[in-house]
Structure formats: C-alpha cells, structure tokens
Amino acid sequence: MSETLSYIYDSRSSLERIKGAENLLLSKFNEVEKGNSPCFFWGKLKNPYEISRCLITLSNIVQSSFNLSPFQLALLKDPIVTAGNNQIRFEGFSHCAGVYARVDILENGQDGEFIENGTTNVDFNTPLISELSKIKKNDELVLSIGQQEVGFHKEGESFIERKVPLPSKWIKGLTTVQHYFSESEYAYTISRVQAIQLFKTIPSGKVKTDYYLIKRGNKYLFSPMSSKTSLSIGGIHRLKLLQPLIPLINELKIYPHKDMQAASFILCFDELNFIFSVSRDYWRGFSGEGAALETLIEDLPESLVQAFDNYSFSNQEFNPALMSFEEGIDISKIEKLSSKLSAMGLLGYDLAKNGFFYRRLPFKLSRILSLNPRLKGAEKLLENDKVQIIYNQDNKIEAKVDGSGIQHYVLLKEGKQKCTCTWFSKNQGERGACKHILAVKKKLKS
C-alpha cells in the first residue's frame, strides 16, 4: 500500500479580482508550523503573464504521470511553495516523481512584503488554473501566500480535505533532486530560437529509447544516438510539458548530472526562472534513486543539526563558510552537514546560483528519515547482526551480509564499492548503494 498523508487546507486557494487587480490567495498546509503568522508573503508580481504560464505548466507537470495507471493519475497532488530570502519558489513533481519542476520568482520579480519565511503545500485547483490562464501581459497580479486574515474561513464548508497519494515519494524525490542538482554541471546556454528548434526535434508519442542532446553546427537537437559529448535524456517525451513555455523564454540553460542520472533545464525569463529536471528514465522516479542514501548514514550530532536549523531559519540562506565562522564549526564538517541536510529536506539547491538555500519542507524530519526502504533495510540488517566484516586492512574491506538463503559478498576498495546482490549487479552503483553496502558502511562507522 502506498503511504498517503491528508492535507487540511484552511481554505480554498483562489484568484479574485479585487479593485481591478488579481489577487492570488494560496491556501496553506504545514505539518511543522514554525512561525505563527498565517501569511508568508503579500505583494505584487511584476511579470504576471509569464508567471501564470509557468504556474500552469507546473500544474500540468504535477498532474502528469509517465508510468502510473489512470486511476492513480486521477488523484491530484499539489505543489509546494517556499517564501523566504526575498524569493518565492513553487515546486512539484509529476505523479511518478520522475519529473521535477520549480518556478523561482526572483528578487526583482516581485514587489511585496515577506512577512515570514516558510514553506507550505499549495492547493492548485481547477478554477485557480482557469483564472491563471486568463492573465494577460499587462494585468496586475497580487500574490498572497498563506492567509490574509484569521477567521476568514469560519464556515465549516470551506475546509477542504484531500487524500494525497504517495507524498512520501515526493519527500524522497525532493531530497534526491537537491542532491542531483548539487552534482550537476553547467553544459550549455542556448537561445530562444535554438531552444524552439531543439524542442521541435522531440519525437511524438511515448519514447522508450534514450535520446541525447547533441550540437550539430549551430543547432541543438535531440537524437537517438549518443556521442562523446552528448547529454543523455531518458523518456524524452516528458520534455513536451515545457513546449508551451519555450517561445516565451529568453534563454535555456542545461545542466546534466555528472553521471547522467538526471538532466536539468533552466528556462530563463525576465525576473523569473523555471527549473525542470527529468530522472534517468521515465519509469524511474527521483524518489527511488538512492543517490542521497550514503549521506543519510552520516551520523551528525543532533545539536549540530539544531544549530544549523536555527542559524538558517533566521538567515534564510546557507553559507557554509560563514556558518563555520559564526558557529565555530570545522568547515569539513559543514560540508558533510550540507549534504546530509539536503538529503533530509532542509536545504534546496539553486542551480543558477550554484548554492544551497534554506527550505524547510513542511514535513517532520522523522518522516523523511523513515521513508527510504534501502536505509531501513540496512538498519534492520545491523539490528539483527547480519553484517560480518571478514577483512579490514590496507583500505580494503570485505564483508559478508546475510541475504535470502545465501550470504552476499561486499567489497569496499580504493573508493569503489561492490556487492553480489541483484540490485548492485543490475545498476552497478549508478542508482545509489544497495542496502548491503549501506549496512557495511554504517557498521564501519559505529
């Protein structure tokens, strides 16, 4: 059974015309209320046409699925919005968690007041999307995240309760995506015209084979054949979600993951970025990838995590060097900390700025930590004493870990790690370590 979590929104999100200006009211839900203010941000958005198109695309992404049944697809999910550090970010996943998208409204893209920093789920309903699609170039759009007034929703009927499928997928995916972002490298910036040409080369229908982004002369195109410098993109039909935005962009930036485990794109508009990332294959969600697992086994003292949380909450950004200086913590520890904290969902990664930002997901840490089956599996192996280190010398570690009926052989040597289990044999470490390797590593740390 898939895990679900019930949201209870205080009221329905809506877009209303008040005195000729559009007011976008986004209802919030938060599992870990940190501040008390019901409203995070209230202000005017400068580029309403582009923003509303981006939000519609985000909503389309959140409602799309590339490997789920129509029944699962019928259950809707909502994006997350973060207000803080003078930026507003809307983010979400496709149902299958294989596509991630984020709308970053940059500092100069809004004119308003950040009453409090925070992250919340947002109710994106059909009437709201319908209203967004009516926004034209010179309209005025006022955004309010959270609730303007307490007591606005006294009527019992205005409560909306919605069961959301697999939010755990999202939470796992969100942590993995940040990790992948931090390991992604800038590759190309291409112009609007080149981007239009590029997107015209996406084949129609569901594409099962991998495609590659290649440059031929001045043109960029997607080709089914790889070359030495090409960027691999699995399930390329997922990029079609971006097609309506491409004619509106200024430029497109492309960031492949260092091991091609994800491909990320930044659609740059004036005062607005749309970040889009697809997993290695359409049938692989970010949630199932184990890229961040090894950082999660890193044991850091609770006090350090707490110190970080307080520091970042008040600063809304994460500057490792500054934090190291101000809090008197060794910089190498801080780097480990940043990996672990992004894996825990406390840090987001801004590709354009090449750095982390503080974004506390509206979910309890214990929930995030308890989600990963491989991590849970590794802990269970250790609990039941099923890990046996048989050799540990000269940077070579051999271990035997109980599997079903037989013992798996784990080898850690010269920075490489190998296991005889099916998961490792199939993926060769590309999708993160298996539970056997994780268990051995954790045992070595204890």
């Binding site: 046409y49 198109r53 519609i56 059909t126 009437p127 999307i129 319908s130 699609s133 009516k134 034209k136 170039k137 112009s191 015209v193 239009i196 040409q197 015209k200 080369t201 084949p203 129609s204 229908g205 594409v207 084979t209 290649i214 440059k215 031929r216 002369g217 001045n218 043109k219 195109l221 080709s223 089914p224 054949m225 070359s227 030495k228 410098t229 309506p244 491409i246 004619p247 509106l248 599997g403 009926g405 037989i406 013992q407 798996h408 052989y409 080898l411 040597k413 190998k418 005889t420 289990c421 099916t422 490792f424 044999s425 199939k426 060769q428």
Partner: protein, 987 residues
Amino acid sequence: MLEKELTEIVLKEKDIIPFLQSLNDKDKRSLVPFIKKFRKKINETYIVEEKAGWGTYNKNEFKYSEKKRDLVDMACFVCFNKTDIKRAIFNIANLSVSDEYLKKIIPWYVPKWFEEVVNKGNPWELNYDKMMQLFKQGLINPSNGLIIRRLPIWIIERKWENNIADLYKPERLLKYEETLKDHIWLLFEEDSEINNQYAYLNTGNHTGGRDLWIETIISLVTEKRLDRQRVLIATIYTSTKGFNKSLSGWFFDLLIKLNPSIEEILSLQDELFSVLNSPHSKLINTVLKYFKQLASNEKFKFKAFIDNSSIILNSETKSVVNSTLMILDKIAKTHETIRVEICIKASEALINLDEKIQSRAAKLIVKYGDPQNSTITDEVSLYTDNLFHSTKELLKDYSNFEEEVQETEHYAESLKILSEENKITELESLDDLIFFVSQSIDNNEVYHIDLLLSYLPKLNLLLNSDNVSKLEPVFKRALDLSMFRNSNSQIGQLESDAAFYINDFAKLLLKKYPDKLSDFNKYRDTKIQNLLETGYDKTSIKLSLEEIEKHPIHDFIYHIHYSLFVKSKILIRKNLSVGFLCTPTHEPCWIDPEILLNRIIKYENSSESIDLYDFQLAFGRMPLYPDNKEFISKIDLIKDLEIRNIFKYHFDEINIRSVKINRPDLWLQSVLSKNNEDEINYFQDQFNYKLIKESGQYNWTCQLGDYIFKSYDHSKRKLVDKTGTKIELRFKDFYTEEVKKKSVVSSIAGVFRKKRMPNKISSIYEYMHFDISKYYVVIWDNDETKFLNLSPNNPSSFLSHVIHHNLKESTFFDETGKKNMTNLLKGLYEIWYRADYKESTYLFLACGLLCSEKVARELAGELWIKANSENNMNNVILGKTIGKLQYGPYAPFKRFTDLISANLFNVSKLHNNSLLIVINNMFSEMNETPIRGLKKLLELYHELLLKFPETKLNNRSKEKFGKWSETKSLKPVIQKILNISLKNEGS
C-alpha cells in the same frame, strides 16, 4: 434476543420494517457484529454442475433465497455505519435510492452517510428528476459532480419497453428553477458527457442533428431563457478548463453555432485571448477566424494580439501559423507605427520548415519592414540556417546569406575502431571476476556474454575452499533465472542460456566443495520443493536443472553460442586458461589483431585445439585497417602455415592466389571481410561453392505481388486459401536450405580434423537463420545485436534474414519487430566503418530510413550522417536502393522527406552533396508513375540543386522527369530543376 428475532424474521421471510423501526441507536450498534456474520451466512453459495450443448460447466447458486438476502441488506442499511455499509454492499448507492428503500425506510430513517454515498456513488438508479426530488425533500444536497453526471441525459426520455423510440424532451429543463439558474452552468466548468453524440438513441420526435445539447442551448438562448452573453463567455472560457480535445472542440462547435456578431466578438476580446494558450488547434483556429474579421477594426486590441502571437507562431499546426501571419499583415496595414514590432514577430515564423509559411512571413517582412532597420535584420539573421532558397531570395536585403552551412565538425571526434577509449579492461583478480560474473546475466553490455565464456574458465582456476562461497549469490541468481526464463525485459534468451551454463559450473563446484556451498545447495533444494508445492510443472523444473547440452536450442542461430558454452565447459573441466580467440578486446565486438595473434600462439602451445566457430568469429571481428601494424612482423610466430597465411591475407600482406588453400572454412571470414569481388570469385571457383547465404547477396524487388491468406468460406464452412495482392519487399532467391540440427557436441569438433566435406564450407553462417514456423516472435529482442556482432566485418548475411523476417513491409508486425529494428540500427551504427558493404546492409539501412518507427528512421539518419562524415557511405547504392524500394512504394514518402527536412538537410556542405547524390540515384530507380509525396522530394532536390548547380542529372533521371512532368502538380518544380540543369549544360 434481538439477534434471535432478526434471524427468525429473515428465515421466515417476515416483514422486517417494524423490527428495524423498533431499534434505537444502541440496539443497532449491538447488532452490527451479528449482522456481519449473518449476512455472510445468508450469502453463502454452492457449486452446481450444469449441462450445456457443449458439455458441463460449474455454476454458483445461493443457498438462501433472494428475499432473505434482501431482508439482511435492509438490516445492514439501518444498522451499519459508512465504513461497514460500503464494505458490505457493493452497490449501496443504488440500493439507497431504490424506490423500495425510498418508500419503506427513508421516510422514517435516513442514515448519516446517505448524502455522501449518493453523491459519491453516482447511482444509475438516480436520474436528474429523482435527484431533484431528494433535494427538495432535504435528503441530499447534490454535489456538482452528481449534477454534471445526471443532467446531460435528462433531456432524453428513455423508453425501454416495446421498442418505442426515445423522446427528445428539452422542456424537462424548465421543470426545476435550479436547472437553468445554476446547474446548466456547471456543464461549462467541469468535464461532462455533454458532447456525447447520443448516436445510439432513436429519438422519434427529433430528426435534426445528433448534437442535441448544442441545439438545446441555442434554443434556450434564442428563447432568452439563458443569458446569451453569459453563455458566450462561459463557452469561450471552457478552453481554460483543461478539457480534452473532443469536449473542447464540442464547446467551440457551440460557439460557432452561436455565431457571435462583430460587436460581440469585439466585447469578448479579452476572453478570446485566453483561448490562444489552448493546446487544441481547433479552438485557436476558431478564435483566429474571429480575429481575422476584427483585424482592421479600430477597436481591435492589436497590441494584445501581438503580445500573444509568439506561442501561436510556433504552433505545429500550419493553418494556425498562416492565420496568425494574415492577421499580423492586416494589423501592419492599418497601424504604421508598430510595423517594426510586427516584422520582428513575423520573423518567428521563419523557424517553420514549411516553405510556404516561410514565404508568407518573408513577404510580410519585405512589405512592411525596412532593410536598414538593424532590429529587423538582426532578428531575421537568427534564422539564416533554417531558410529555404526562395525565402533567402525574398529576404536578400535583410541578411547576408552567403555563408553556407558549416563544414561538418561534430564528428571530428569519431572513434577509431581500436582505441584506448573503447578498450575493454581485461579482468584478472578473483574479486573482479566474481563481480563480473555476477552482472554477466544482466545484459549490462552487449559483449558480456562473450567475456563470460572466457572469464568463467579463468575464475575456475582461482577458486579454492576459502573463496568459493563468495560465488553463492551468483549461483542463486543464475538458478532463479533458469527457473523463470526470460522474466526480465532487459535481457535476452542468451542471458537465460548463460544462466544454464553458470548452473553447470555451480554443479561442478558443488561436487568439489560441498561444505563451502551448503547454503546454496540448501537454497536450491528449498526452492525446488517450494515450486513443486505450488504446483509448478515438474518437467519444467527438471529441464531447468539439466546440463546445457541437454537443453533444447531455441532457434538455429543460438547454435553458435551454445557450441561456445559447451566448449567453455570443456575448458573448465580441463582446468585450462586458453580462453577463446573471439573474446572482444574493444567495444562492442572488435578484436585487436595483436591480441588475436597471441591467443593463437597460446593455443598452439597448449594441448587444446582451436574451435572452428571460435576461429571464424575471431576473424570476423578483426578489423581490416588497424592503425598500428607492428604486429605484422609477429605473424610468423604462428606455427600453422595456413593460419599464418590467412592472417597475412587479412591485412593485404599476401595475395590469395599465391598460396594454397587447404581449409576454406578457415579462410572464409577473411575473404568475406575483405569483400573484394575478384577474390571472392576466385575463392568460389576454387571450391565450386557460391557464397550466397554467407554474403547475404540476393536479388530482390519491391512491387505489387500475390500472396496467400486464409479466409473463412461460409459455403464450405471452413478456412480456405485465398490469393490477394500487396506491395512487399521480397528476396527472389532467398536461402531456404533446411539445416539439420547437428548435436552440439559434434559441432564443436576441432578444425584440425582430417576429412572435409566436398563442395561445402562449414561455417557459422549455416546457423545464421531463423525458424519462422516455430515462434511467434522470430528474433528475440536484446539478442539481435549480439547476433549482428557475431560477424561485424560482414553484417549482410545476418541482416538479410532480418529483412526477410521483419521488413517485408515498412510497418512492424509487433513491438518486438520495432525493438529489433532500433537495437540493430544502434548496433550497426557502432560497427559501421567502411562503405563497401554488400547490398543487404544498404537495403537494411534504406528500410530503416523508410520504416514506420520514427526512432528507427532517426537512428538510420544518424548512421547516414556519421558514415558520410567519415566518408564511409556509398550514396549511389543507398540512393538506388531507396529508389527501388519506393518503386512499390515500400512506404509513404512523407516519412523520408520529413526525415530529410528535419534531420538530414543542411547538416554540412558535404552532407548536402551526399544527399543530392542519394536523391539523384533514387530517381533513376523509381516508378514512372509518380507516387504520392514525390513533389516534396523534388522540391528538396531543387533546394539542394541550388546549392550545387553544377550537378549533372543522370539520363535515367531525366527520362523519369519527362514522364513525371505529365502530372500537372509536378511540372513546375521539375521545370525549375531542368532549368538549372540546362544552364549547367549550357555553361
């Protein structure tokens, strides 16, 4: 007490209502556990054997009467809470609104869950009228979803009895005030069945169109029962509700029928602009039609239109782009001040690969633009690479188009066949070998099975009682795979076969180290036991555990690998580490000549004889043109004179006529690899043996021909053979010789045997074919590239079989055929390194360029681009082959011309020239009767010809042009081509 009473009422089928009425809340709660059990009992069934005309069948019968079951359901209805009732009664929503319940129970008891169950359950018993009555009685507040589901069909009165026609009754909408005031508007907000054609209805009183609801709404508007302005706005805004294409299109049909006046359109401009973001072109086209009427009107919000035009100018639908350009043209005509802005917008349409659209955009720019305005010229120059010659002519004042497309550069990086980058690391250590064997059955790389054959004997020599248990997980995986065959979509049959081979290895080791592999042994016994207990077929289990020699071989072609598996087992048994000659040293299947040389010497120094297939595979994988030729001097270290000569011949060090050939089967692969017509003829004459199947060289046609199919004859009451005609690619003299399957053991006899069969050259090609009658899937996917890589120097033989089985028509019979095609094209791309392949290879490539799978066409296109960049493509043969295929025609021409426009055109000057050669040679082989789509090809040819006006047309092409120009639509473009040609000849 209550339980006893209820039991008696049900069993004696008494009236239950008084009893239920007497229950208070506490009584009801206390009865729930009993009712649950009781209901289960009353619904028990038993099996009855029934007779039918064709035999007997089993039928379930209830033990208790329907009446008793109904009585218990009533009790459930009154006593159960929401969760229990939903679990107990599947169709509770229908039961709740049934006439019986509404009459007997609802008047005195309405369950708390009643409203929710009715709203969510969407009961078919509940029509709109009944729903409204329940609403009026205060029993439910119908949800929007329920109203939307019930309202559309309410205008029809269904008649079930006596075949009386259904009646169209729009007046029903007037019965309740809420219907027109609120409910009808919901149909504009959420997904509904309003667009249902109701074609199945036989509405006797309505003979008009089938779009009853469009007529209904129009009438309601005409009668002023619905506000026209509100209907217009609501209809337009349906485009923002995310409806599907059909429903969105229906609403815009309604809009068209509402026929808004110019004044109305002017007042609705803001609403209409929101439609331009719709993904459905019909909606956009409708709105553009309205805007065209307004374009010259002074109240038209032309600035908003210009703002919104980027998205529609980039539409995939040509009519949308055309209409947008027309409106921009009209705006520019009226508003002089914004002409620059309009020209810049119009240039966005230059990205379109349609010549007419480019031309329209260019004309607009020329008409209203200023060549001195750098904003316009800068914008136009962005699209230079994309423009047709005619567009460039039009825009010649706006940009300098003289710069030709760049010379090819992207393939400067192309790999050498043997380089450090594609070198396969040789594994030596125990750990490396264990982890390799563990992944060898996952098909992570196409050459892993080849490596496994050499690595398992090598690993065998490193095992001892201390380390052998590390292999247990590997053995477990192999055992699991062999039990359940090909359950993994990423692997092929060969991986399953490799699992049998690893099983055999496990058995050998189990004998040697029973204590060390006890966990695996135990696992295997338990697994077999479990499978037997769950009814798994005993014979299948037994077969899975058999040695590989005793396994049935799937198809002829698998013999080659099977023989290698068996040979590898011999090496393991003998504790030999000589390995195989054919193990690739470079990805995907190549062998470094020096390494092969050393392997031969190693064999000669051992007691083991070389296997014939191993030898043939090795020479078929040895590239002809290695960069480094230092190894040549070492060839003389080989003791066997004939092998030495073959090696030298392979690298042009000796002439085949200068040496004596004793064992042609050893020479075969080098003769085929070199593919020298003269040498092949000499070889054939020497041994009175034609290398037909070996070279895959057949005569073929692609024309209309007869074929036989089975059809049911009603008079004869049986299936009979009938003859039909279809266009098919056929090999006229395809190799059909029956091959008797040899036992695997005899097939691996050493090459140094004394007797040779006369006039027959034994080779891997004897097994390189498929038994079509045996399997539904002819070529298993994920194995095909491994077959191609059996002989990369000579792919034509294998590819001829793929053509024969999969490519007779350009559409694929199944998904496997498509996968075969894409996998093989990727494989061929990797091994393509020369231009002189036999025709079957070019035919395969041509089929790839024309087939119905777009990915395959693009792959074939990429192969063509790469091969041309490296000067490894015979464009004359390719062009003739495509032309001959299109004589049929084999495939719709649009596939090929679209591929040219999108992928092959303007790659580089070199590629444009190659493309010209391809098309020129196509013409000479094509049918005199022009086929559909030829015009586009001629236009592309003309475009290319303008780039290379010195090109000479061949005479056969000229003849074709003469015939084709009799067709009116082709005449102008042919004339343009001939004009260039004439100029050329004149100069």
